[in-house]
């Protein structure tokens, strides 16, 4: 590790926090309906779609509307992917996807996962990329943020019956947040050299041989912007953010890294503004930041320490450069990957498969923690609320009262739903990976044997369930088992988690919000941040330790002893 490497991590955090502070306030204004600078357009959209913006929805109505919208999107996207050969904007004449790959891809983009079992350049048309996938990069991100806004509203008052209106939430989040910020970011990226074109490719003549080589092009800049901003992660190119057209310079690398963190960190701040207690939002944000910073430093340290075998052979004394984007170096490259797994973005500018075992354990563990560092846009917020409720419940009894969070009593119903949500994630990740490793088809997908193979499978199921979408690579994901299995994991990991959380919000909303007194469990300050971090690690991560020990940890100790796979 070098000081400048650590300084880069510090710089990134400073940039993100600097952007998140005003953005958090602005987003609170959006959620409260106070941002109206496109009011005519917004009103027009409502009239066009027959939406009554004044309608208030309880948690069931909100959840049902989100589920139905997602179902419609899923069916539409599935149809686009199957029929892309016949649809406009297919200059490369790419054939329609197979049913199972289309299922997997549709599930992936509807759930904000962006797991890519396909190779973008050869298996998806330009049209399907833009009106299929890119559209969902906005919609699925907006859906996550809307659910988070609904959860926030539960804490804003007493005896509430409504969590808001899902249609106005989606419209406003798209109109006032995602589109404008993505546009500005896209323009910055274009300025830095990212292409934005509807031409299929550009042909260049190689310097040495003079041979002609086509290089794929497309509307890259906009997709890149929303890919990071909406914690989607689906790259225009298979190499994702390691591709020079997606991420040409060190500055774009920093910008993209900041973009993928900013909404996640701003959401708890918005929450603080909405509940009129900014310190509460800061405590949640700090908990996220502490975990992410620890992850960034740990992964960087492991990679900077390097591979003992390389060091012994004298080939790479300067740390483990394998799997890093050489243009950006170890700290920037690992930090990008850790940020992308800590935000369920799944964008990569390096290959985790080639990381040292400990360096690769960090992204894996951040996903298993439940994606709260700061997690996917929206989903990271409502997940950390689940953990905050559990933390308050376990430790809150220790102050001698029925635990309450922001004045809302945490009782049997909330605990039941919270445990259900955590249970679903554990079951999908461990059950899915365990079962896959027992089948011949699952074993055939692995590129490596031993603990490394185990890590690859565990990583895939963690990534899908937590709607991350990043891949450790080394795994052939386009098989019937993994296409369907991971597709189902993505859908359940998203919706079977979101619905109980909305139910918790509905239950809390109906309760009175008690004013704080000196007998109230303090949910701000360093003590609570420490407690919350502890609960996230113990309740959210410890159950994965046995499996992780057989994977990356075993590989680490074997590597130290000179054994590789």
């Amino acid at each position: 590790m070098t000081l400048s490497g650590l300084a880069y991590i510090g710089l990134l955090f400073a940039v993100v926090l600097g952007l998140a502070l005003p953005l958090g306030r602005y987003m609170a204004a959006i959620f409260e309906g106070r941002v109206r600078w496109l009011a005519p357009l917004e009103g027009g959209l409502y009239r066009l779609c027959g939406i009554d913006p004044a309608r208030q929805m309880g948690w069931q109505a909100y959840a049902v509307a989100l589920l139905l919208l997602s179902l419609v999107h899923f069916v539409l996207l599935y149809a686009i992917l199957r029929l892309q050969y016949y649809l406009p904007l297919n200059p490369a004449h790419i054939p329609g996807m197979s049913p199972r790959l289309a299922f997997n891809t549709a599930a992936s983009f509807v759930t904000n996962t962006n797991w890519q079992a396909y190779t973008p350049e050869s298996q998806i048309s330009l049209g399907a990329q833009s009106y299929g996938l890119a559209v969902h990069m906005f919609l699925s991100a907006a859906a996550g943020i809307a659910a988070a806004a609904a959860v926030m509203r539960a804490f804003t008052g007493s005896h509430l019956t409504s969590l808001g209106n899902v249609y106005t939430d989606l419209t406003r989040i798209t109109l006032y947040l995602l589109v404008p910020v993505a546009l500005v970011a896209a323009i910055l990226l274009v300025a830095a050299g990212v292409p934005q074109s509807f031409a299929a490719s550009v042909t260049v003549h190689l310097v040495q041989t003079g041979a002609a080589q086509p290089i794929a092009l497309g509307p890259v800049a906009l997709q890149e912007a929303i890919k990071e901003l909406g914690t989607n992660g689906g790259g225009f190119f298979n190499a994702n953010s390691a591709h020079p057209f997606e991420n040409p310079t060190a500055l774009t690398n920093l910008l993209e890294n900041a973009l993928l963190l900013v909404i996640g960190f701003a959401l708890p701040l918005s929450f603080g503004h909405m509940v009129k207690a900014p310190a509460q939002g800061r405590a949640l944000m700090l908990s996220m930041a502490v975990l992410l910073a620890a992850g960034c430093v740990a992964s960087y340290a492991a990679e900077a320490a390097g591979n003992p075998l390389h060091i012994a052979a004298g080939v790479a004394p300067q740390g483990n450069w394998e799997g890093k984007e050489m243009r950006f170096g170890i700290p920037a490259s690992t930090t990008f990957n850790v940020s992308a797994t800590g935000t369920s973005t799944g964008a990569v500018d390096g290959f985790t498969d080639s990381y040292t075992p400990l360096g690769g354990l960090v992204p894996l563990f951040l996903m298993q923690l439940g994606e709260v560092t700061p997690g996917g846009v929206g989903s990271g917020f409502y997940t950390i609320i689940v953990f905050a409720l559990l933390a308050v419940f376990v430790a809150g009894l220790m102050v001698g009262r029925t635990p309450e969070y922001l004045g809302k009593k945490v009782q049997a119903r909330e605990i039941k739903l919270a445990m259900l949500a955590v249970l679903i994630l554990t079951l999908l990740i461990l059950g899915g990976a365990g079962l896959s490793l027992l089948t011949a088809s699952g074993l055939a997908s692995l590129a490596n044997a031993g603990p490394h193979g185990l890590s690859e499978m565990l990583y895939a199921w963690s990534s899908a369930t937590e709607n991350n979408g990043s891949a450790m690579a080394g795994l052939s994901a386009d098989t019937p088992l993994l296409d369907y299995g991971l597709g189902i994991a993505m859908l359940l990991g998203r919706f079977a988690f979101m619905v109980p959380v909305l139910a918790i919000a509905g239950s809390l909303a109906a309760k009175p919000r008690l004013p704080a007194s000196s007998g109230t469990f303090p949910t701000t300050g360093p003590l609570f941040v420490g407690l919350l971090v502890g609960v996230i690690i113990i309740l959210g991560g410890l159950q994965f330790m046995p499996a992780d020990t057989l994977g990356p940890l075993a590989e680490h100790f074997l590597l130290q002893a000179g054994k590789t796979f």
Partner: protein, 677 residues
């Protein structure tokens, strides 16, 4: 207060009985309501079967049998903890049961005529039967006096041997089955069917027979069941990951891992904590009708306290002598003293005491003096002696007899005293006005600091009084309460409670009269006085056998202590898991990857010894924590933030560190005897 006898934590008889009960409680049917321990028992049975199968096949599965034995012990320790808690309650119930009336009752054939009655066994009495109870009879069941006055010895229930008066009508009409009529007679209408009397309910509650899970317990149970399921998934899938890696785990190994990870410590102690909380309340001579009420006491945000008797002593006492201009204070004090010699009321005695303490004056009634006793008609008392006449009494009565206008300074002083919530008495000597005595309702010493302590816990205190607003405000300020209800009526008390509850707060109050019943029923915690009416006792969810309204504060603390104990042991139990990973994971993976021995940071001797040590620690910690579960975590009236910091340090951080030391010690102990090492 005479509390029931204290029961030692390690009473031999209770422990012996509990050991037997612990075995009986192993029945899966009775364990099914405790998911964590139920899973432990299932796993213990499975390991036993597997080991037995191997033994049948000719092998010697010592390790399997040892693990099985300790898993069974884990279950046994958990049931033992519950049995001990119940045993302590049963011991208390035994003394109550002795009081239960088994005599015959005199059932009136044609009430209210008390000349005709027939004898029926008390156990056959039904609600609304009317019985006669005479001196020397036990009152056969709970009821309400409809005729007569008698003194009743209620020591069977309250432990207080001085008889109390019970009479028809008013606030002293309730009688309790099993108490003894000492003099006179009563006609009583029975209000409880046999088996449902107050004493029956008390017995059932302290024995834990009618124990239902409280809301917090249910929520905690769900959390523990959820954690158990999560770890079940982790352990079952580990078998798959192991198989992929080329490692077939044995059943005892997986069972050990599972039982060590699921929260057996809190799972085993949860019901004992609840029973012990109830028991602590009984030791304070308070009986709750449900565990829910005890828990609610911990949640209370507002306490409604009667002014008289709770905040103040209730009888007014002299607190100052104020002479009119031209009269010396010594002369006035002398006159106050002499005029009060004939006043036997507590107020009169307090004037003598004040003269003695503040002015160093003591007098015996002079020889031949004529004492004018205080009477409610004249509202004055005094003394005539050698032609000297001293009088003191209510200002208007004394002034009426004087005929002259009082000086302005006097009138002003009267107003000041009245405004301060006190009562002025005028004092005269030979028809000349000397000055005033201030009689004040004295705020109990120390009550202000108790209210401050409550405020730190986030609890507001509200004084309830029949006084007017001005008087009430003065006393409220002196006692340091947060709010007051002046000119209290049953209706405005009820309205106040509803208003506070509408803000989402929980209210506790105590009361004794029938007109308190609606408010007692509305309050989240309603403590009825044992001396109160049957209606009040039915409406409240606790009964204070000592009829001491200040106990509301202790009740709140007991409720809080109960919740804190649960939270502390839950935190401890969950924090324990970290060390168990470091003990068990290297041990079970080392056969495959010897390099993972690096994770054995405790330096445990062999894999078998490591696993066994973790299992033994997991079992023994339950027994080790039984005293804490029964006694409760020490409670301090400090703010929530300090309390959290303190308990998080002890039970959170302590819960992480303690098992590292414990497991290491057990491993060393096993090594000493060369067991699996």
């Amino acid at each position: 207060m005479s509390a029931p006898e204290t029961i030692s934590l390690f009473d031999g008889a209770i422990l012996r009985r509990a050991a037997l009960d612990a075995v009986l409680k192993l029945s899966p049917a009775s364990l099914a309501r405790n998911p964590v321990i139920f899973v432990t028992e299932t796993v213990a049975a499975l390991v036993t079967l597997v080991a037995a199968g191997e033994a049948y096949g000719g092998a010697r599965p010592w390790f399997g049998f040892t693990i099985a034995a300790w898993l069974w012990l884990t279950v046994l320790f958990a049931t033992f903890a519950e049995a001990v808690a119940e045993g302590r309650g049963r011991a208390r119930a035994e003394s109550l049961r002795r009081a239960r009336a088994e005599a015959n009752a005199k059932l009136l054939i044609a009430p209210p005529d008390r000349s005709l009655h027939r004898l029926v066994p008390a156990t056959e009495l039904r609600r609304d039967d009317v019985v006669l109870v005479e001196a020397g009879d036990l009152i056969p069941s709970d009821g309400e006096v409809i005729e007569g006055v008698a003194s009743v010895n209620e020591s069977a229930v309250t432990g207080e041997s001085a008889p109390v008066v019970r009479e028809a009508g008013g606030d002293r009409s309730a009688v309790t089955g099993g108490t003894l009529v000492v003099s006179d007679w009563l006609i009583v209408r029975i209000t409880a069917d046999a088996g449902a009397t107050f004493i029956d309910r008390m017995i059932a509650l302290v024995e834990g027979a009618s124990r239902r899970k409280t809301p917090n317990e249910i929520a905690l149970d769900i959390l523990l069941a959820g954690l158990t399921l999560i770890f079940l998934i982790a352990v079952v899938t580990l078998a798959a990951f192991g198989r992929y890696s080329g490692l077939l785990f044995s059943i005892p190994v997986l069972a050990a891992l599972l039982v060590c990870l699921i929260p057996t410590t809190i799972g085993g102690l949860l019901s004992a904590i609840g029973i012990a909380g109830m028991d602590r309340l009984v030791r304070f001579n308070v009986v709750a009708t449900s565990g829910r009420a005890v828990e609610a006491a911990g949640d209370v945000d507002a306490l409604l306290l009667d002014k008289t008797g709770t905040i103040t002593f209730g009888n007014r006492m002299a607190s100052g002598f104020y002479p009119v201009p031209g009269v010396s204070e010594a002369n006035l004090a002398e006159a106050c003293l002499l005029s009060s010699l004939g006043d036997d009321t507590p107020e009169g005695r307090s004037i003598l005491a004040f003269a003695r303490d503040r002015h160093g004056l003591t007098r015996q009634p002079p020889e031949g003096a004529e004492m004018i006793k205080f009477s409610a008609n004249t509202r004055t008392s005094g003394l005539d002696f050698n032609g000297q006449s001293y009088r003191k009494g209510a200002v208007d009565s004394v002034l009426a007899g004087l005929g002259a206008e009082p000086p302005d300074a006097f009138t002003a002083e009267v107003e000041r005293i009245a405004r301060a919530g006190s009562t002025p008495l005028a004092v005269t000597h030979n028809g000349h006005l000397l000055g005033l005595i201030e009689l004040k309702d004295i705020v109990k010493p120390g009550i202000k600091s108790r209210f401050e302590a409550l405020r730190k816990l986030g609890i507001r205190t509200i004084m309830v009084t029949g006084d007017n607003r001005i008087t009430a405000a003065a006393i409220a300020a002196e006692a340091g309460v947060d709010d007051f209800i002046a000119e209290a009526t049953p209706q405005n008390k009820l309205d106040y409670i509803r208003k506070v509850q509408a803000e989402g707060r929980m209210v506790a109050m105590c009361g004794d009269g029938t007109n308190d019943a609606p408010a007692l029923a509305q309050a989240d915690v309603g403590v009825a006085m044992q001396t109160g009416t049957q209606a009040a006792r039915e409406a409240g969810n606790m009964v204070d056998l000592d009829s001491d309204p200040t106990k509301l504060i202790e009740i709140v603390e007991i409720g809080k202590q109960l919740l804190i104990t649960r939270g502390a042991l839950t935190t401890f139990s969950i924090a324990n898991d970290i060390s168990k990973y470091f003990a068990i994971l290297p041990a079970i993976f080392v056969p495959l990857y010897p390099q993972l021995a690096a994770l054995n940071i405790m330096g445990l001797k062999t894999p078998e010894s490591a696993i066994l040590s973790a299992v033994i620690f997991n079992a023994l910690i339950i027994v080790a924590l039984v005293p804490l579960a029964l006694k409760g975590v020490a409670f301090r009236a400090i703010g929530a933030a300090q309390l959290l910091k303190r308990n998080l340090l002890i039970y959170g951080l302590g819960g992480i560190i303690a098992p590292f030391a414990g497991i290491k010690l057990i491993d060393m102990g096993l090594g000493l005897f060369h067991i699996f090492s």
